[in-house]
């Protein structure tokens, strides 16, 4: 049974926090008109160690986003006074490039496309799980650092060369199928961060539907058998209840 957040303690999301000890503190703004949902998100983000504010309508949200130094904005699609997409549009028009994740009850493919076109950086249909949201927000925040530009990715003694398409663990060369290579590449780009199954399906396979059976798990276990099997220190970790993470466990 997957261990869902601790209900008894003061920090329900402590377990997720524990999975990522090297978490960098982020400043987040939640723009959501449902006060319960906003409070829940702010509280949850604070518990895992981030700084979070909330705005309950589009105008307030825009003003706060313009004034504060936020790392990521979490914007509900339908807001009073000013629609979520309009808030993002206004920010982009003013030259603010703060990454924005759109939350929407409209989960269809073309709605997602509309959201991304309006300047959103990621899209999450409601209802979502907090671990999914957290993983995506952290990836967005980290993306600003520009890690994806590197041609050689390293995690511990695992090395992936994006130009020659070669993967080494220590001195040993590991041969991967093209898709396995892309899977590993994505995981290594986000080393130290939780990556959910949906994120993998979207970014490695470019599918936005629910494949019913958890096909991703099987792909991960194949990859794991290639990069971790026979090595004393595992690098590819399962974050229970959330997803996967590649990280140098020695630290």
């Amino acid at each position: 049974m997957p261990p869902y957040p601790d209900i008894n303690g003061q920090r329900p999301f402590g377990r997720i926090a524990e999975a990522q000890p090297d978490r960098v503190t982020m400043r987040l703004l939640v723009i959501e008109d449902d006060r319960d949902a906003a409070d829940y998100l702010v509280k949850a983000f604070r518990e895992v160690g981030h700084v979070a504010d909330a705005a309950t309508d589009g105008d307030d949200g825009l003003a706060m986003a313009l004034g504060g130094q936020y790392d990521v904005l979490i914007v509900d699609r339908m807001l009073p006074k000013r629609d979520g997409l309009a808030v993002i549009g206004a920010l982009r028009a003013k030259g603010m490039e703060t990454p924005a994740l759109i939350l929407s009850a409209l989960g269809q493919v073309d709605d997602r496309v509309k959201g991304l076109r309006a300047g959103g950086d990621d899209y999450l249909p409601k209802p979502y799980s907090f671990s999914e949201l957290l993983a995506r927000v952290e990836v967005l925040a980290r993306r600003r650092v520009g890690r994806s530009e590197e041609t050689v990715l390293r995690v511990g003694d695992l090395k992936l060369d994006r130009l020659s398409h070669q993967v080494h663990r220590g001195q040993e060369e590991i041969s991967l199928q093209p898709r396995e290579f892309r899977l590993l590449e994505y995981l290594m780009q986000h080393a130290g961060q939780v990556v959910t199954r949906t994120m993998l399906l979207e970014n490695v396979w470019d599918y936005h539907f629910d494949p019913q059976t958890n096909v991703i798990d099987v792909h991960i276990s194949r990859l794991r058998s290639k990069i971790d099997k026979g090595f004393s220190l595992p690098l590819l970790h399962t974050v229970r209840g959330a997803g996967y993470m590649i990280r140098d466990g020695a630290r």
Binding site: M1, P2, P3, Y4, I7, N8, G107, Q108, V109, D110, V113, P127, S129, R179, W205, Y207, H208, F209, D210, P211, Q212, T213, V215, V218, H219, S221, R222
Partner: protein, 474 residues
């Protein structure tokens, strides 16, 4: 009066009026032009004749003096006809001719004149009306004057005939036009009324009603036929919607009830923290399943309503077969099933890539679920799934063939319906919506999903038109 008012307000009647006005004006113009031209032609003829006669008479005068002229004019004046002759002295005394009672001063000016006159043989009687004539006065050398002219009665008569014919024909055009217009309008109005009547009953909730089609194949029939097609579509959609809501009611309420029961039970009897935790974990799992079912339902409804038609693009179906095969291959292998893809040649297709991928994924997922592993053979055949993409005429076929238990022929159309799972598969996980979604996606693209026997096993075929869905009526 209201019926008549309704008649007058119709488009047909207004059109009739416009056409009628145009035709009447045209007829009037035509006849007027004809009348004026006839009149001009006659006038021209008169002037020509008169000129010739004057030339002839002045020649006589030149040859034989006034006496010869008078003799010739006398002779001509006696002939019956419409010609006018008069020869006078300088002082105006008549020497010869057949004209009298000209208005004073007529002879003073040489040249053309239109004048009233009386014939000499009618001058005594007052009841003879004055005639009008077109005449030319000619100054002869020696002070004599010669008048030659033609009576205009004929011209006027002809002119009047044409004008009155014109009046009559315009009157007839108007009367016939109005009557015809009213007739046509009433016919059209009756049909439109019948349509309106049907529409009203449909609006009152009887979706089974259809507009009457007269069978003449005219524009009203075409309109009625198209509206009927539309009504059929609406009825199908309404039916689908009702089915969806029924299914939602049935298949979402069941897990919701379960969810609620478990939560209640946990509240009532759980004592330890671990028990609470287990109950809550269960709740989340159950609600995730609910969300999944709900999303699938929404997706089907959307595909069926045709909304996803906007996101169509060109892509290769063979590539999709390879991608989906690659996505599911590890899962199949884990279960001991061989998953093969046979799609060598490109199969270009226009459609919604995401939805078609999902439909194919559902079929493969289904096959993996129901196919036994390779070592545990079914009917002596090892567990195997083959995904194919091939072109066949103007269709693209995406097929998934497995060696599982298959579906009895009698059940095949039923399992495509929402939520239908055969009894033996109740134990397997899944919303029971996979095949329905694949079918809805196929229909969205103007194609279909069929299930066939793979001898042994099941062969699911998504057949799609290469060029994407054909728009109805467009």
């Amino acid at each position: 009066m209201t019926a008549l008012g309704k008649l007058f307000r119709t488009t047909t009647f207004k059109l009739t009026l416009v056409y009628l006005t145009v035709f009447a004006l045209f007829a009037a113009f035509l006849l007027g032009y004809f009348a004026l031209n006839t009149r001009r032609l006659i006038t021209e003829q008169i002037t020509d004749t008169v000129n010739a006669e004057i030339t002839g008479l002045s020649e006589q005068y030149r040859l034989g003096g006034i006496r010869r002229l008078v003799a010739v004019v006398d002779a001509r004046a006696r002939r019956p006809g419409s010609s006018l002759y008069l020869v006078t002295t300088f002082a105006g005394e008549s020497l010869a001719g057949n004209v009298t009672s000209l208005p004073p001063g007529t002879l003073d000016n040489a040249g053309w004149t239109e004048t009233a006159y009386r014939r000499l043989d009618e001058s005594d009687s007052a009841d003879h009306p004055e005639h009008r004539a077109l005449a030319r006065v000619f100054q002869l050398p020696g002070g004599f004057r010669l008048l030659v002219g033609r009576d205009l009665d004929e011209r006027e008569r002809l002119y009047n005939i044409v004008i009155s014919a014109g009046r009559w024909s315009i009157a007839i055009v108007i009367v016939l036009g109005l009557v015809g217009g009213l007739f046509v309008t009433r016919r059209v109005l009756r049909r439109v009324d019948a349509m309106t009547e049907t529409t009203r009953t449909i609006m009152q909730g009887d979706l089974g009603g259809r507009l009457p089609v007269a069978g003449t194949g005219d524009e009203l029939d075409r309109l009625a036929e198209n509206l009927n097609l539309m009504l059929e579509r609406i009825e199908a959609l309404m039916h689908g919607l009702k089915e969806v809501s029924d299914n939602i009611a049935h298949d979402l309420k069941t897990p919701l009830t379960r969810l609620r029961n478990r939560a209640e039970q946990a509240l009532r009897s759980a004592k330890k923290e671990s028990e609470y935790r287990a109950a809550l974990e269960n709740t989340i799992e159950e609600s995730d399943g609910l969300i999944r079912t709900f999303n699938a339902l929404l997706m089907i409804a959307r595909a069926e309503s045709g909304q996803a038609r906007e996101n169509m693009s060109e892509f290769d179906a063979a590539e999709i077969a390879h991608d989906i095969g690659e996505l599911y291959e590890p899962l199949a292998e884990e279960k001991g099933i061989a998953l093969k893809v046979e799609a060598e040649t490109p199969a270009p297709l226009k459609g919604n890539r995401e939805l078609i991928s999902q439909a194919l994924a559902n079929l493969v997922d289904n096959s993996i679920k129901y196919t036994e592993p390779r070592n545990a053979t079914v009917n002596g055949v090892p567990g195997e799934i083959v995904v194919r993409a091939l072109s066949e005429g103007d269709r693209i076929l995406l097929t998934v063939a497995d060696s599982g238990p298959g579906i009895p022929e009698a059940d095949r159309s039923r399992v495509i319906e929402r939520f239908v799972r055969l009894e033996q598969s109740r134990s397997k996980a899944g919303s029971g919506l996979g095949l329905s979604l694949a079918s809805a996606v196929a229909r969205l693209h103007g194609g279909e999903l069929t299930l066939a026997d793979n001898n042994p096993g099941l062969k699911s075929i998504i057949a799609l038109p290469r060029g994407g869905p054909v728009q109805i009526g467009g």
